[in-house]
Amino acid sequence: METIDTITIDYQHYLTASEIAAIEHEASIMETREAAGIEALKVVQNHRGWVSDDSLYAISDLLAMPVAQLEGVATFYNLIYRQAVGEHVIHLCDSIACHLTDMNGVLEAIKQHLQIDYGQTTQDGKFTLLSNACLGGCDKAPVMMIGSMHYEQLTPDRAVEILQQLANQELPS
């Protein structure tokens, strides 16, 4: 029969102590354990860069919630990554204001510079390029977001410059 074996991941073996502690803290301040789902996904993503299938099963085990429900939360939010991403994730805004202010030029320059398309990661694992529906900076369009930073009033040259700076930055260890 074409069934797929149920995957059970024991959270205690999979998650680190600090992850478990952080998630337990979130769960303790919520009305129900599953309400901590979104925070738990963020915790794991902060530690591991993205949320793998195994991470998902481990969180669902820890919070005693159905994995289908947690997957619904994880896939709803575009800032939870369910696939491996690079060190820096570029969210380039493709809403109407950015289109009017030459977001396409910026996009082409980034693609050219990194040699990747939307949804791809550079070979060195530094950058992933994603589109984003409106970052809320229409008055300073075009806009992109990398990590927690918004970069506004971009030009093709400035965008490349920012990426070069980031690439040269040492990771704070």
């Binding site: 029969m1 995957i7 009305e31 998902l56 159905p66 289908a68 896939t75 709803f76």
Partner: protein, 1012 residues
């Protein structure tokens, strides 16, 4: 609909509408057309699809109005709305237009085509042109198991599937993923849907995302099906079904609305378990009767064969899955002293208690269960044995949240608001059983106990209720009282901490509850438990401050209660029957010629008992529709009909009398059991009690040697109606209600839709003439597209209304939304006598239970087999798709037991069960099984998914050792072989059915053998 009725104006016309429901329900109740997707009559409103927009006006001077969603708008007195208003109708058209941008328009290859709610609503809005030029989003589909197909591209994101699967039915393995234009409904990974109610997705989905996989494999359009109103033959709830057939094979089962029972939903056993009627194992020929003509068996052949038996006595074994008529007939052919229901001694004791309870109080309907605010389920896993009832229990648990919302002014139909306010708040459910059940997750307390302890808990609750007159005591005080009662008892009769806590909480819950429902069943085969529960309910009557709960007993089969109504003090158990038969090689005069076995496989009989039966019965006559171990060893086999090919009545758990109608005529010589018995009766004669009504006067002592009149039947009964008249004329005991109800002088209702296609060419491979419609005597339905409209009857063969091709058309036939059908007749219920209880053989003996628990051995435990929705009912278990769902062996044991044996969770072990006591059938049995450790399981209890030939109350010794690799490999390969066999039989069945489509025989008359 009286004090809540208000006047509203729809397009300036006044209408009387209930203000307890939303505007959409009000509009639809008036039989007006207003399109919708996300709203569902029993799931309420969420306002997700924006399809039911109407214009609401401030007052009669307001010309402009504003758009509102009818499903989220309450009905208020004097409100003015417009459906026809241009802005509203244009809005609705645009909504469809937007949905259609992603819909694939693959209607020709979609199983939903022709009964698609999306098609209906699209036409209703007037959207008729495809204007979108862009690309459509596409998805990959998932494998969701053998029952439900998945085609996500068709999705219009109405959210009904998840609202049903997760919110309504409590499923956990289904979800919604993504956002915006990329919303996906399905499981987290591929795999079979785990819910027992997954099949409802097929009807809940307004289009073809979820389809009936079995139906799709051998597909026909809805309008080409020949359907008849039927009753589910798989459990005692008696859900109403519409069974659809084409070219001689049953294609599918759909829900048939009944406001008091199943409403809009069925369980998967009911929907997909019909597969057995197409099985390869069906008996199609008689055995043991000499046939004169090579072409056909004639009635003369049968009477010749039976002429040897004239004036001979037979024993008769009826069955809880055969119709009431067949059982009644058999009882009167063999005589009541020679009749058995196929029950063993312990089952007879249970039957006594069950009939006493039914005599005392009438169990409530599923709709009534949904109004309870406390449910206590004891000794039955209803999710597996009466699944539709478990779905109703889940709705009852929502009452706490609905009450909370109503205090805040939120009506119950505001589904998402009520669920948000309610959060995890549930009305209390207490579960007390020997196996874990799916309802444990939503239970306030779920306690696992062996059956003797369950009884003890019930008894102590009774004690509390009779002795404590104060319902305001705190939990600790109640527990103290409990401890006091039992301090002088011996250790075995004392409650442990968990039990004490459970009973005390339950007592407090019951004191607070406005309406308590107690549900139990017969699957533990324990008469003491039923007696204790009856006593519990009795003692409520002495308490003025607490409402008396309703007690529901769930028996095993579709007609268990029907058979129960036929049992009397003369009825025999299987053991007694075997004793009556002469020993092998006994030369004494044979009292009995043999045994007539009606649709019964005697599943609980040991191999030895079956051999004894074979050896001691001179003639073994079996009537059944499918091959089984008794039909293999019988001298005469008479092929009978399953539910789809015959007429008859089943009595549900409440005693509700329900008729199932023939969907299509069987291929001769297959005919209903009662027709065979009618022919047999012509030769054997029937026995009519001269002392008329057995249960009229119970006070006078009866003469044991009473006269039994032999009646020689003159004519064959041609129809069920004739049979009922014959019964009614001869037997005071025959329930008159059926005979009175059966007569209806009206034009028969068509079994086919008036759009049935290919009517003139259906039989072209056999003859080019248009075949005459099959005639049937006294039938209230015709085998044709011609006949009265389905509107004429509450027993609708299928549902359809102009503009409404899907099952949602049922709203057109309800008095009001969720109300009874317009033609609904008052349900009839059967009455019970206590005659069975007069037989002293079946008096419960409490000593047995006490004794067995007293000599408790440390290594002994109770093993209980878990019930399974797919495989626990014999008929449904023959469906190949269900056999594919068989799980490998698994046993749940206590942590200490595992520790002692040195085994860990999920390890494969070899279990050796051996019996120590007397009267044990089981000597020693070894099973290879995976271990699951359950912390809260008592040490004296284990349960698993495999069967042991041992009775439930017996304690057995279990030795656990780790299985070696060879043993595990051998077991798994035999398990895989079973799965492969089921897969092969599924495929060969499909091939055969498709071939048969080309060669259906023509039957001009659907009577019995004598019809042509």
């Amino acid at each position: 609909m009286t004090e809540n009725t208000v006047t509203i104006f729809i397009d300036d016309e006044p209408y009387q509408v209930s203000n307890t429901d939303n505007l959409l329900a009000g509009v639809l109740s008036q039989k007006l057309n207003l399109p919708y997707f996300c709203w569902h009559p029993s799931m309420g409103s969420v306002g997700a699809c924006r399809q039911c927009a109407v214009t609401q006006f401030q007052d009669e001077n307001d010309q402009h109005g504003r758009l509102v969603m009818a499903c989220t708008t309450p009905v208020t007195d004097g409100m003015r709305i417009s459906i026809k208003n241009e802005s509203a109708s244009e809005f609705r058209e645009q909504i469809i237009s937007a949905m259609m941008t992603n819909h694939p328009h693959d209607c020709p290859v979609c199983a939903e085509g022709g009964e698609c709610h999306l098609q209906d609503m699209t036409v209703m809005t007037g959207h008729s042109a495809r204007e979108y030029q862009g690309t459509k989003r596409t998805f990959s589909n998932q494998y969701l198991g053998e029952l439900v197909g998945h085609e996500m591209n068709r999705c219009i994101t109405c959210y009904r599937c998840t609202r049903f699967y997760n919110d309504y039915a409590g499923g956990k393995d289904f979800g919604v993923y993504g956002s915006k234009n990329q919303v996906y409904f399905g499981r987290q990974t591929d795999g079979a849907l785990e819910s027992e109610f997954s099949g409802n997705l097929v009807e809940v989905c307004p289009t073809g995302v979820f389809t009936n996989k079995v139906f799709s494999a051998h597909y026909t359009r809805k309008w080409d099906l020949q359907s008849a109103p039927s009753i589910c033959s798989h459990c005692s709830v008696g859900c109403n079904l519409s069974i659809g057939e084409r070219y001689g094979s049953v294609r599918r089962v759909m829900n048939r609305y009944n406001s008091e029972i199943n409403g809009y939903f069925l369980c998967d056993r009911g929907r997909f378990g019909i597969g057995y009627v197409n099985s390869e194992q069906r008996i199609k020929q008689v055995k043991g009767i000499e046939q004169q003509s090579p072409l056909q068996l004639s009635a003369l052949d049968v009477s010749k064969a039976f002429s040897h038996f004239r004036k001979k006595n037979f024993l008769g074994i009826g069955s809880a899955r055969a119709s009431l008529e067949s059982n009644f007939y058999l009882k009167n052919i063999v005589g009541k002293d020679n009749f058995s229901a196929g029950y063993h001694n312990d089952e007879m004791q249970v039957a006594v208690q069950h009939s006493k309870i039914l005599k005392q109080c009438k169990p409530e309907s599923l709709t009534d269960i949904e109004t309870s605010d406390l449910v206590f389920i004891v000794g039955e896993d209803i999710t597996q044995t009466a699944p539709r009832m478990a779905l109703s229990v889940r709705q009852a648990l929502r009452n706490a949240a609905i009450d909370k919302a109503s205090t805040m002014g939120i009506p119950s139909w505001q589904d998402s608001a009520v669920r948000t306010i309610g959060g995890t708040k549930l009305s209390p459910l207490f579960s007390l059983h020997s196996t874990s059940t799916k309802l444990d997750d939503v239970a306030e307390q779920a306690l696992l106990s062996p059956v003797a302890r369950i009884s003890l808990c019930v008894q102590s609750l009774t004690n509390l209720l009779t002795s404590l007159k104060n319902s305001q005591l705190s939990h600790i005080e109640v527990e103290q009282k409990l401890a006091e009662y039992y301090q002088h008892q011996n250790h075995q009769r004392q409650l442990n901490t968990a039990e004490q806590n459970f009973v005390a909480s339950l007592y407090q819950g019951i004191c607070r509850a406005k309406k308590t429902t107690i549900i139990t069943g017969t699957s533990l085969v324990n008469a003491e438990l039923l007696a204790d529960l009856a006593e519990l309910v009795q003692c409520f009557q002495e308490r003025d401050d607490i409402n008396t709960p309703n007690l529901i007993v769930v028996p095993a089969n579709c007609n268990s209660v029907g058979v129960l109504s036929l049992l009397d003090k003369h009825s025999l158990s299987v053991e007694q029957m075997l004793d009556k038969l002469p020993e092998k090689n006994n030369q004494q005069q044979d009292v009995y010629q043999g045994v007539i076995i009606l649709e019964q496989e005697l599943a609980r009989c040991s191999h030895n008992q079956i051999q004894q039966l074979r050896a001691s019965a001179k003639t073994l006559i079996v009537l059944d529709h499918t091959k089984q171990r008794l039909s293999e060893i019988a001298d005469i086999v008479l092929p009978s009909t399953p539910v789809s090919e015959g007429d008859g009545h089943y009595i549900n758990y409440q005693g509700r009398v329900q008729k199932f109608h023939q969907v299509h005529p069987p291929v001769l010589p297959v005919q209903e059991s009662w027709r065979w018995l009618d022919m047999v009766a012509d030769t054997l004669g029937i026995k009519v009690d001269s002392e008329v009504a057995d249960n009229v006067d119970l006070s006078t002592p009866r003469n044991l040697n009473k006269q039994i009149k032999h009646v020689n039947k003159q004519e064959t009964c041609q129809s069920l109606t004739q049979l009922h008249h014959f019964f009614a004329d001869n037997y005071a005991l025959w329930p008159q209600l059926i005979a009175a109800k059966a007569q209806q002088e009206s034009k028969p209702v068509a079994r086919m839709s008036h759009r049935a296609s290919g009517r003139t060419s259906q039989m072209a491979n056999i003859m080019v003439h248009e075949a005459k419609t099959t005639q049937k005597f006294d039938d209230s339905f015709s085998f044709s597209m011609e006949g009265a409209s389905i509107k004429q009857t509450s027993d609708m063969p299928f549902t359809w209304a102009p503009g409404w091709n899907s099952n949602q058309s049922i709203g057109r036939y309800q008095e009001h939304i969720n109300g009874p059908l317009q033609q609904q007749q008052k349900a009839s219920f059967i009455t019970f006598s206590t005659s069975l209880a007069e037989n002293e053989n079946w008096q419960e003996s409490k000593d047995i239970a006490v004794n067995s628990s007293a000599k408790q051995n440390e290594n002994c435990l109770n093993y209980v087999q878990q019930k399974n929705i797919y495989l626990s009912e014999q008929q449904a278990a023959m469906t190949p798709e269900f056999q594919l769902l068989k799980q490998s062996n698994c046993i749940f044991i206590n942590a200490n037991t595992a520790l002692k044996a040195g085994v860990k969770n999920q390890q494969w072990c070899k279990l050796v069960f051996s019996a120590t006591g007397e009267n044990m059938q089981l000597v020693s049995q070894s099973v290879i099984s995976q271990i699951s450790i359950l912390p809260n399981l008592p040490e004296t209890l284990a349960f698993g998914n495999f069967s042991l030939c041992q009775s439930l109350s017996q304690e057995i010794e279990m030795k656990i050792t780790l299985a070696n690799d060879q043993e595990v490999t051998d077991y798994l390969s035999s398990y895989n072989d079973d799965i492969l066999t089921a897969k092969a039989s599924k495929e060969s069945l499909l091939t055969r059915l498709k071939e048969n489509d080309q060669t259906i025989p023509i039957r001009l008359v659907s009577g019995g053998l004598t019809d042509a």
